[in-house]
């Protein structure tokens, strides 16, 4: 298989993008990514568009073809990748496959979602439509799964409620350094712990916001990368895995099988292990998910991730900086864009272009979670040697 390089990246401002719709957002990120890499639209052979629900949110389908036309990449092969909130990670997997297999020499991946024109209740319902009929009729939502899991985790591992607030405080602090983040505002533990209850025991600041935004990455064979740039990263390992759709059927509510399996395979493919990872972007749609992924990816022992969070080990200056971008919590979570934006952050860290967020990193990992761990993609990237 061909080694695959990431040679360009972009992301739009995340947040409420009044008057701009899915096609505007995708085109903005796609064009910026081609500019970043200095690649002409004519060179693009495959175009993947990560998007969960443009039809449901906006009544706009066929976004891959629309973007191909807008960017002038016709006749490139185009495909929309939907894997719910891990659509972005799944797009990285698809893009990697297209280049590694030799099917494409230049692949553009653009992820995006337009959500904020919908009320919180409507957006929550679109996302909850992934649930099984026996869950949906009871009004189960993704935030309620998080509340159920967080209570179980705190009770079983005797973890203090404040440990979750530490995740929110850290990711908000990191987000102040990210010019593209939806929220660039520090919060205190008290603010997080006294915010309105959403899904007991989780409060407002345990949840990511509803967001509009788009992000993009450009891939090519590593042996062609230097024709475009001296600054690139490579995809050292990437893998995806699933778990049960019905969340309560999992033997252990605190283990996301898709995280464990995709992580195991991505580590094996890359030749790296958890001890080699210098920086990680984890899918903190809810604060509790940062703990579950840290444990599933073996950065922490089972039931102990909360201690690392409270000890500051996952802070920017800790032993393993987690979510230097601000994470979904502060940066925002435009569903289809989030996994691509995780890749953007790791790429920027590895090429040394992360500005105020820069940490010392040669190997980075991104974990993108779909549903409540229903589908997961883990990607390990390394700096060009």
């Amino acid at each position: 298989m061909t080694d695959v390089a990431v040679i360009g990246a972009s992301m739009t401002q995340f947040g409420r993008r009044e008057g701009e719709w899915i096609l505007d957002l995708l085109a903005e990120a796609g064009e910026a990514c081609l500019d970043d890499a200095g690649v002409a639209p004519d060179d693009v052979e495959h175009l993947y568009v990560s998007n969960m629900a443009s039809g449901e949110f906006e009544g706009q389908t066929g976004v891959m073809n629309a973007l191909a036309h807008d960017l002038g990449v016709i006749p490139a092969y185009s495909e929309r990748v939907d894997q719910t909130s891990s659509s972005g990670g799944a797009g990285i997997y698809a893009a990697w496959q297209s280049v590694a297999s030799g099917a494409s020499d230049v692949t553009l991946l653009v992820g995006g979602e337009k959500m904020t024109h919908r009320s919180t209740a409507e957006a929550t319902d679109v996302i909850a439509s992934i649930t099984h009929p026996v869950e949906y009729k009871h009004g189960l939502t993704l935030p309620s799964f998080a509340g159920l899991t967080a209570r179980h985790y705190l009770e079983r591992f005797d973890a203090p409620r404040e440990s979750l607030a530490h995740v929110a405080v850290k990711n908000h602090e990191n987000g102040t350094r990210n010019p593209h983040a939806q929220f660039r505002k520090e919060i205190t533990l008290e603010t997080a712990l006294e915010s309105p209850m959403v899904a007991d025991p989780l409060r407002l600041y345990d949840f990511c916001p509803i967001t509009d935004g788009s992000a993009a990455l450009l891939f090519c064979p590593e042996d062609l990368a230097r024709e475009y740039t001296d600054e690139y990263a490579t995809v050292a390992g990437v893998a995806g895995a699933t778990d049960t759709l019905v969340v309560h059927e999992r033997a252990d509510p605190t283990t996301m099988g898709g995280v464990v399996e995709s992580g195991r395979q991505a580590y094996e493919m890359s030749g790296y292990g958890p001890e080699d990872v210098d920086v990680a972007e984890l899918h903190d749609m809810f604060t509790i998910l940062e703990f579950l992924q840290m444990e599933g990816l073996e950065f922490a022992e089972k039931g102990r991730a909360w201690e690392m969070a409270m000890d500051g080990e996952t802070a920017m200056d800790g032993s393993l900086p987690v979510n230097t971008s601000g994470g979904l919590k502060s940066k925002g979570h435009p569903l289809g864009a989030s996994g691509v934006a995780q890749g953007y952050e790791i790429y920027k860290q590895l090429i040394g272009d992360a500005g105020d967020r820069q940490v010392d990193a040669d190997v980075g990992l991104a974990c993108n979670v779909g549903g409540f761990g229903n589908c997961v993609i883990t990607t390990v990237m390394e700096a060009a040697r």
Partner: protein, 119 residues
């Protein structure tokens, strides 16, 4: 009305049932969970509910013991519960208003069982 779970060839039981069970074994029968009590594994009260859902909405994951075989289920709770409490299923004709949310009303059932603490 029953709260129907599937029993598979390997002895395991799931709620809901699936065409293929854990470890690939086929369903060999059904079990009506509404005749059993269960223990609360964890619970939450959701204060931000989607269209057609009561607010607040207390939900629990519960575990039934069917002749020594554990079976978990999820659903709305009537009243207050704590982890470890014993609950029983109570039939409700409409758990959520059909058609208020995004899902096609005809595509699924809307009645079912809430869990109520056993005194």
């Amino acid at each position: 009305m029953t709260m129907e779970a599937y029993r598979y060839a390997d002895g395991s039981i799931t709620y809901p049932g699936h065409p293929v069970g854990p470890d690939g074994s086929e369903p060999v029968g059904t079990v009506d969970l509404s005749e059993h009590t269960a223990e609360v594994v964890t619970w939450t009260t959701s204060h931000s509910t989607p269209p057609g859902v009561r607010s607040p909405n207390t939900l629990a994951i519960v575990e039934f013991d069917v002749d020594g075989t554990p079976v978990r289920a999820i659903g709305q709770v009537e009243g207050d519960v704590e982890t470890g409490d014993t609950v029983r299923p109570v039939y409700v004709e409409e758990l959520r208003e059909p058609g208020a949310g995004i899902r096609e009303p005809e595509s699924q059932a809307w009645d079912g069982y809430r869990f109520e603490p056993v005194e």
